[in-house]
Structures are given as C-alpha cells and as structure tokens.
Symmetry: C2
Subunit: 258 residues, 2 copies
C-alpha cells in the first residue's frame, strides 16, 4: 500500500512518522510550505512535493492532514489531477464524510486520531482512539486494518457521532486547558505557582478513571454555599470573562444536580 | 502532642487516619453524627465523642475538619468550654484565619490540605500540598512540623493567598469535573462512552506538566474557526447552559490570546 500524505503540520508530522514506523510505505509528503514537507519527508524516507501535479498517481491511499477549511478544495484538486479512484481520507474530527461528496472523488473516508498533537510532544499512539469511516464497506475495512497497525483502539464512528465527539473534545481539552490557564493567571498575581495545584489537577483526573464525573462533583456550587460563591466572585472582579465563566459553570452544576 | 479531631467527614476521615498512621496521638474524634465518630475513632484507637463538654481538655491541638459555616460557632464553643489556650486550627481553603479572631480563642491557625477528598478513594498524602498559617510564629512552626510528618510539600500561605488558591482550585477541580460531565452527557445521547475521550483527557493534563497552559491552547476558539464554532453551538442547542459555557469560554480564550 503506497500512501501519499498531504500536510506536514502537527497531525501529519506525527502520523507520517508513525505510519513509517509500523512499516507503511509513505511515498510522498505534500506541503505548500516546502521546508516542512522536506523536514518530514527526510525523516520517513519519502519524497517532498509542493505542487499537486507532482502527486504520485500510483498511490493507493491519500491522507489529508490539513486544516478543515482546505479539505474540500484539496478533494476537488485530487479529483481533477486523476485521483478520482484513489481512496482519499481526512483526519479531522470536525468535518463530515460528505465533504467529499461533490468533489468528483469516488472513494473517500475518515481516519481521525482522537488526540491533541504538538510537534514537541511525542504522542503515545498505542493509546489513541482512531475513529474511521468510509463511503464503502471495503474501504472502511481497509482503514480499520491500517488503524489497527497503530493502535488497538479503533472505532467505526459516523458523521453524527464524530460531530458530537468533537464538541466533547473541545470541552475536555480546549476548555479544560483554558480553566487551567485562568487558575494560573489569578495565582500568578499573588505570586503563587500553578505547581501548587497540580496534585489537585491529577486527582481530578484520577477520580474519573473509575467514577462518573457527576458523582465526583464537589465544591461551593453543588453545596450551594452562597457565601463562598459571593467571595469568589468578588475576587474575580477584575476580569469579567472569568466572572461570567464562574457564574455560568456554577449555575450549570446546580441545574444538573437539581 | 495530643490531638482532638472535630469532624469525621471526607477530610476528617482521611486526615485522622493519616495522623494516626504517622504516629500522632489522636485522642478523640468528635462528630455530632455519633456513628461517624465511632467508625473513625475505632480505626485510629481514639475515643468517639458527640458533645462539647466531653472534649479532652488535656489536648494540645484541636483540628476542625468541618463545614466552613460551622467553624466560627465551634471556635466560640471551644473558647467557652475552656480551650481558649489550646491551639485550634481549621482545614478549610475558603475560610480566613481571622474567623477565629473574636471567638475568645487565643491561639489559632490553619492546616489546609490542598486536595479533594472522597471517603472511597485513598489520598496520596505524600503529594498533597499543605497550606499552613497561625496567629503566632511559634504555632506556625508547630503546624509546619506536623504537616511535614505527612507531606514534604508544606507552604506558609496567608489569607489573601489562600483565598485565591481556593478560587483557582474551584476552576481546576470543580469546574473541570463539570466539563467532563458535560462531555459525558452529550456523548451518552449518541451512545458513545466517555472512555473514548480519556486518552485526550490524560494528554491534556500531561501537556501542562511541563508547559504553561496558555502555550498548549488549541481548538476552534484560538484558531477563530467560526464555521466549527457555529456548528458546535448548533449541536448544543438543547441545553442553554452548555451553549452559554461554550460561548463564554470561547470568547475568553480569544480575549486572552488577543
């Protein structure tokens, strides 16, 4: 199976190296930023390309690890240059399978690793859930088998499910991370390091390993400790976003536990 | 050093057992709920008491592991029954040292383990930061030394600092846990388990082990990917609290990263 990887950003960089690592033949890395393409291509013994008419038409699978808003365009271009019968997949949690429907491509799918990637941090692929989908049973099986080379955690997930998974991922990753930032921000003002709260952060996660979050809820909101809530809001006076976040999360905790 | 422990809830239960475990002499466990007092007292070779006039007046230290709104009352009662020269401390992050100022007590302090406790989960005390304070240098040293028997992470923290630590703890623990609940809630509706997101949750925490959260921020908010944000808000249509949480957190991420 010859693979062309389009995109050499966070996802492309790690996925490309992993595919190479498990013995898959990534023949080309495409990126409009030529030096990014070269950097990754050299690591995985592939060729770097930066224009669509150089894409290897003998490839079996083309993986788009690119921004959501570029997927449709690239799908169109691939169909135009003669890839209409290749299996083309994207790696996005936010983009439906049907994005490819009117591109001219006949075989398409999704190969979505449910994780947050940074260049500087090596992902543990063996723990990453892969969410796969395709517009044919045969290609779905192909994608499942490919994902299983990388991780045992492979799931068939349709558009509707993946859309909600992506929202949920925003809550547990993006928003959680922002709450950590807020904590750091207000602590720094009093010369306190976020380090002091890391054991608490770790415990917060450990508790939901084996318990539903709703059963682990503690704090002034669920206790309806209005005195403490009032004091906290006063301490957040300087930042109206932080105040609003405190208020709506408190209200939501109370509504959920009514 | 003879210790009387007032309160046999989550904090009292674990702290009492730990103090006993490191060889401290907890002579009495007080709880208005007699069976709770007995349960803990039996585990740590102490006497269970349920009325204030039975409190051992030979104690050196009285620890209040009780609800915030009971601290002042209990302080008053302890002064009345002849404990005015004992060192009396509370374990609350939300309550200032000055709560004891007009109780009649002469020596008081704070012995606050910065962690969330549940009866069912054994805390790792050796990782828990202890925040201590007292109204005299001598008693502060006493509390520091006692805390050091339990954890190497002992910090002198004044009222102003502890108040902000407590708000920050609400963000990283209570609110984070609620975000996990929201994720589980919206996933369950589509028959998806929160298990699928646990690798992502773990990675979210791992990333801030060595990086500031603000540098780890990803997602549609910081990318200003308005299309995805719109789609997500549509998916959250059924729950107005969840929608508002999504909106204000998105806005706050954008304002912080302006």
């Amino acid at each position: 199976m010859k693979i062309v990887l389009i995109g050499a950003g966070n996802v492309g960089y790690h996925l490309g190296r992993k595919l190479h690592g498990v013995g898959k033949d990534v023949v080309q890395v495409f990126s409009r930023r030529r030096n990014k393409a070269i950097l990754l291509a050299e690591l995985i013994n592939a060729n770097a390309v930066s224009s669509f008419n150089k894409i290897d038409l003998s490839a079996d699978l083309i993986i788009l690890a690119i921004h959501d808003d570029g997927i449709k365009d690239v799908g169109n271009k691939l169909a135009q240059i003669g890839c209409e019968n290749k299996l083309v997949v994207h790696t996005s949690g936010a983009t439906p399978l049907t994005i490819f429907a009117n591109t001219g491509l006949k075989r398409y799918g999704i190969f979505y690793p449910l994780q947050t990637f940074s260049i500087s941090k090596e992902p543990k692929f063996e723990t990453i859930p892969f969410c796969v989908d395709a517009n044919s049973r045969k290609d779905l099986d192909k994608l499942k088998n490919l994902a299983l080379k990388i991780s045992p955690n492979v799931n068939y997930i349709n558009d509707e499910q993946r859309a909600i998974i992506h929202v949920a991922a925003v809550f547990v990753n993006n928003f959680t991370n922002h709450l950590f930032h807020i904590a750091q921000d207000i602590l720094t003002e009093k010369n306190i390091s976020l380090e002091l709260l890391k054991p608490l952060i770790n415990e917060t996660i450990e508790k939901i390993e084996t318990n539903d979050p709703i059963k682990m809820q503690t704090g002034p909101a669920i206790r309806r400790d209005e005195e403490t809530i009032k004091r906290h809001l006063k301490l957040l006076n300087k930042n109206s976003d932080y105040r609003k976040i405190y208020q709506i999360l408190t209200k939501s905790i109370q509504n959920v536990n009514n």
